[in-house]
Every structure is written in structure tokens, then in C-alpha cells.
Symmetry: C2
């Protein structure tokens, strides 16, 4: 068996880092997609492993449990999204000598998730996953969402600094309204809007929608 000698080490499949990484990636991709499309409660471990083309036991082996898998996806995606938002806020602050305008702050909050939702964006499904996690997530996800508001802190503080004339509770409420606008961009809600508008809103022009949203939100902050 001369071929065996050509292999560096471990001729068996007990520890193949490449294959392991591929399996984990397939699981994560399938889980994210199925959950984003059908909801958390509707998707079983069997569905995920079948879709990923891996064996039934692999989720427990690689992630510990179904909930742990979903939590890891949740952490990864929210971290990515918050990083993008923080970077935009930071850049806006740099441009405006540390005091970005309300419009720049709102853009940093709205633009990243809106770009993700573009039909051609590879984070399109990930964004739906995040939105669903807000209402259907596991106890662990809800725990994080309720207590870890450090990311929003920066936006709230920036808005308060940009509008020192407003009572701070007014700023918080308005921020809450803007977040509602953002989180309402689920597939189901966009489809419903298409039905209501008889198709005139069925557009993939993210730039135009971004401008609409920021205009609306900025106007709400103007008074």
C-alpha cells in the first residue's frame, strides 16, 4: 500500500479538521436558513441534519444541543451586525468632530440591516434569523437581548448628545419607534405590504428604501 505512505498522518477519519469544519458549516447554514424561513418551533434537529446532508447525531456532537447551535448562530450574526453599526457610528463621529448629526446616527442604525436584506446580499437570510430571534428566540437569546443593551447605549447617548434640548425619555421613545420600523422588515410583513399595495412596493431598490426610512425617522426626531 504505497498510497498510505503518501498521507501525512492519520489515515483514518477520526480527526479530519477540514471535514469537521465543513460539517459544522453545513449545519450552521442549514439551521440558519430553515429557522429564518419557517420559524424556530417548526424546525427539528432532523430537518436541519437532513438539509445539511449530515447525520442526525452531529448537531449534539459539535454543538452540544439544538439550542446551543441556535444560540451560537445568534451570537455570531448579532455580533457581525452590531460591529457594522458601531463602525458606521464611529465613522460618523469622526466626520463630525465627535458629535454626529441625528441623520448620521439613524443611518448607522438603519443602513446595515437594510443592506443585509437586499435580495442579492449573502446576509439576507441571516437578517431574517435575527429578526425572528427577537420574538421566537430561546430563553438564552431573550436573556441576552434583554440585558445586553451595550450596543444600543452608544446610539442612545449619541442621540441624546445630538438633541440636548429634548427630554431624554423623548429620545428613548423615538429610538424605540425607529427600532420598530427596522424590525418590521420581515419577509411576511413585506409580502403583506406587497399584497396591500398591489405590487407597487415590490422593489429591490435598497437605496431608495433606505432614504425613505431615514427620512421618516429623521422627521420623527425633528420636532
Amino acid at each position: 500500500m504505497p498510497e498510505a505512505a503518501a498521507l501525512p498522518i492519520a489515515p483514518d477519519a477520526s480527526h479530519d479538521p477540514e471535514r469537521e469544519a465543513a460539517t459544522k458549516a453545513a449545519i450552521v447554514g442549514a439551521a440558519e436558513r430553515l429557522f429564518a424561513l419557517h420559524g424556530f418551533g417548526e424546525v427539528s434537529v432532523r430537518d436541519i441534519t437532513a438539509e445539511a446532508g449530515v447525520n442526525l447525531a452531529s448537531i449534539n456532537y459539535h454543538f452540544g444541543s439544538k439550542d446551543a447551535l441556535l444560540f451560537e448562530i445568534f451570537r455570531r450574526r448579532t455580533a457581525e451586525l452590531n460591529r457594522e453599526r458601531a463602525r458606521m457610528l464611529h465613522e460618523a463621529a469622526a466626520k463630525h468632530m465627535g458629535k454626529p448629526t441625528v441623520r448620521a446616527i439613524l443611518t448607522a442604525l438603519i443602513e446595515p440591516p437594510l443592506r443585509w436584506s437586499a435580495p442579492t446580499h449573502d446576509r439576507r437570510i441571516a437578517l431574517q434569523f435575527i429578526i425572528r430571534a427577537r420574538s421566537e428566540g430561546t430563553e438564552a437569546m431573550r436573556e441576552v437581548l434583554s440585558t445586553d443593551v451595550s450596543h444600543l447605549r452608544r446610539f442612545a447617548d449619541a442621540l441624546i448628545a445630538a438633541r440636548p434640548d429634548l427630554p431624554i425619555e423623548a429620545v428613548y421613545w423615538r429610538l424605540h419607534f425607529v427600532l420598530g420600523m427596522i424590525h418590521n422588515n420581515r419577509f411576511a410583513e413585506l409580502d403583506r405590504l406587497d399584497v396591500l399595495s398591489e405590487g407597487v412596493t415590490r422593489q429591490s431598490d435598497i437605496e431608495a428604501l433606505l432614504e425613505r426610512m431615514v427620512d421618516f425617522a429623521e422627521a420623527g426626531f425633528a420636532a
Copy 2:
């Protein structure tokens, strides 16, 4: 047994309309509350019947299935809410000779659900049920939500008539934003806001919040 003679008919319990109605009401109340608080997927028929103090089989006997029960609650509550909104829109139209202002239209859309959400309102739980149904509902609920937009039609038409200068797709998108503001008033999101604002938003003054929301939404429509 002289007491038996005093009973009109049916001395057995086979057909007691009063008790039947009480059982159904107990089931509906328990189901609505548990689902509103814990989510659809987390609540079993066993949880509901235990909470209602009725036997396990009664949900299937009286409603056919768990899904049918939840669907009936959903239809009842959304019908109530939409009736209130339609009535307010109708009254606003009557006051403005058939052409209500944008503010009056938005108030008719926002005020009913916001009043329901008041801590002392008996529809407080019902509103959370409705909001949850939007993202976690069964197939039947989603079917209704996606296709039955007749209720929103009147609001969209009224807004289009109030702002004939705007492209209609702009009106639809802004209506979508307002709906997002409304649907974001879930317990979990309000709690999160309280954490972020360190308590300054923890208020039960529905009047003030209503004015905040209508002000924000109207400003978004102003341009």
C-alpha cells in the same frame, strides 16, 4: 328529593349550557394568557387545561384542536381591534366631511392598540396575543394575515386621499413604518427599552405615549 323537582329539566350534567360556556371561557382565557406570555410553541394543551382548571380532553371536545382554539381567539381579537379602528376612522371621516386628516387617520390606527396595552385595560393580554400571532402564528393565522388586508385598505385609501401629492408607493411605505412602530410594543421590547433608559420610560401614561407616537408618525408623513 323535593329539590330535584325544583330543577326545570335535565337533572344530569350531560347538557348544561351555563357550565359549558364557563368551561369554554376558562379555556379561552387561559390559552390567551399563556400564549401571550410564553409564546405559541412553549404552551401545550396540558398547560392550558391545567391553568383553566378543566380536563385535558375539553379543548378537543369544544374547539376541535389546539390550533383551532388559537385560531378562534385570533379571529375574535383581531375582529374586535379592527372594529375599533374602523369606527374611529369612520368618525374621523364624518367630522372632516369624508376627508380626514393624516393625523386623524394615524390616530385611528394607533390609539386602539395603545389603549389596549394600558396596564389596567382588560385587553392588555389580548394585544400581546395579537402581536405574537404576527410572527409565531399557525399557518392558518399567517394565511389570514397575508391575504386579508381589507381592513388596512381603508386606512391606505384614506391616507392616499389625504396626501394626493405623494406617490402612492411612498404612502404605502410610510404606513408600513407606522405599523412597525405599533407592532414593536411587545412586553419584551418595552422591558428592553426600560433597561436601556434605566427606567425613565417605565411609565403607564398611555395618553402621553399616544401623543408621542402620533407626533412621530405624523412628522414622518409631513414631508
